[in-house]
Amino acid sequence: MDSLITAAARALAAGDPLGALNRVALRDDPQALALRGIAMAQLGDFERARPLLRRAARSFGPREPVARARCVVAEAEIALVSRDLRWPTKALELAQATLQAHGDRINAAHARYLSLRRLLLIGRLDEAERALASSDASSLPAALRTIHWLAIAGIAMRRLRATHARHALAQATHDARQAGIPALIAEVEHASRALAVPAARLLSGGMQQPLLLEEVEALSTSGRLIVDACRHAVYATSALVSLGRRPVLFALAHALAEAWPGDVSRHELAVRAFRARQVDDSHRARLRVEIGRLRTELRALADVRATERGFVLKPLHAPGVAVLAQPVDEKHAALLALLADGESWSSSGLALALGSSQRTVQRALDALADAGKVQALGRGRSRRWITPPVPGFTTTLLLPAPLPGD
């Protein structure tokens, strides 16, 4: 390593990206490019940071695989923080393997946590949970331990394990303070606030009630039959039936649960499940088929019985029925829930996370923008979406040191 690279790297490590840029701004060797990229990222200019890091990765020589891998990791981290989820995960996996093979344990772990956070963000909880279970964070630096606990808390929250989430967040708070990185501490505080605001609404017997995550957890073990509109599932203590890919069946279950212990007329069921304006014989025939399918799906939990005017839900063992709904009754609640993390998202990132098409998401975003509920930044491919007001933008970059070391 040469003199100015050392001086610039020291400036970066001391939190002085401008000082680093002053020293290497005019140089185009790979080490200088990497340092310029990291400095730009620390200054929040991701659009410039990524091509610099990509150029650096390309121009490191065949004897410098570790430096190249670190640039790939840094680029992936910038992509994650800017919520661009379409980056090549293959390149990150290869970089992780290279770092591991060359004994750079900490940056290899860093790369692993980036993949894991991406899985968490796009809702692939099972995969994220498996990856977490096989990683031991205890010997890692405090900043990476914080990421580890935040990931565990994220999964626990989505799985309604409030106690688990609270414990993980306490650990994350402890480790973030030890790391002493203000942005990371803020991110943990932000995540902790989610436990203090309503996570869902309970609709039962015509009454509404906001529920904290802990209360949602208590509800799920209360023995009642829950029709959960946040996760599109029906469950009781004994079993869970996911209807995420059966929207018509879920709409029927939702309507029946709302009316319980009363019944719902055939007409109303057809209106709600098929979005029909006028109900004719073909709708009634289709309703019979769909009710049959719902009966099959729910057979372990409840029966669906015909009444004089329609149908009624009869839980098998559960003493009661309740509906769990999004905390705000909003058409695009799921979209807003993602944007509520305070980060800027691309429409493609949102589509990937919601599992719907980009065009659908785009239409929803346009509608929300017209209503002043979201705001767009930038143009074209680099356009990002945020929910106003912007709460200080937590973009915690830990970024690996890009230079070869011992």
Binding site: D2, S3, L4, T6, G61, P404, D406
Partner: protein, 210 residues
């Protein structure tokens, strides 16, 4: 060309408060090494540090018998080892791309890392007198018994090389173990090379082959 594995006879450090070792030199009693914002003195027999001077120290270090020379950013500074005062400075030949530094017979020898070059420089003006080309990234440079040696460091691999000072031809290579890199290089004038260990924060003594 002879090629052999480097024999590490002793490892010093890591030292408290030292997270990197760049240039290395030897004043006959103490080893001085550059560590970013200070020059640290070490007794090579006991392995105990003897204090440090606060001075910018980003790359090579040399000793002319009386003063220390230290590369900092784009310049080579002449430093009084007693007081730590900077007495003079000249521009470094690589304009900041400089790595190793050595003193021999009235001139300075400066490694230029990615350019794979070694420059002979006038210590008063900084004028380049001569340039030798290598085929590897050059880090530390040292002279011992009329032999010019330099270290190479590419990625996580390093070698010590004895080269012909006129032609640049490689006469002998000592290969460092995988993952052990050499930043600064200095000979003790006899049988030992002192090798800076970069980000490992270590200093290593390597036996000089005869």
């Amino acid at each position: 060309m002879k090629r052999s594995a480097a024999h590490i006879v002793r490892e010093y450090g890591p030292f408290t408060g030292v997270d990197q070792v760049h240039g290395v030199t030897y004043d006959g009693e103490r080893v001085w090494f550059a560590s970013g914002d200070k020059l640290v003195a070490l007794d090579p027999d006991s392995g105990i540090t003897q204090g440090a001077m606060d001075v910018a120290a980003h790359a090579g270090t040399a000793f002319d018998g009386r003063y220390l020379f230290q590369i900092a950013e784009r310049r080579i500074q002449k430093i009084d080892p007693g007081t730590g005062r900077v007495l003079a400075s000249i521009p470094a030949p690589g304009n900041g791309g400089d790595s190793g530094l050595a003193w021999a017979e009235g001139t300075l020898w400066v490694g230029e890392y990615r350019e794979r070059k070694i420059h002979q420089v006038d210590p008063d003006t900084g004028a380049i007198l001569r340039t030798i080309e290598s085929n590897r990234f050059v880090t530390g440079v040292t002279w011992v018994d009329g032999e010019l040696w330099h270290a190479t460091w590419e990625g996580n691999e390093s070698e010590l090389r004895h080269i012909d000072a006129r032609t640049g031809e490689v006469l002998e290579k000592l290969e460092m173990p995988a993952g052990t890199v050499v930043s600064g290089l200095e000979s003790d004038g006899h049988n030992t090379f002192f090798c800076g260990g970069g980000q490992s924060g270590k200093l290593r003594a390597v036996r000089r082959p005869r």
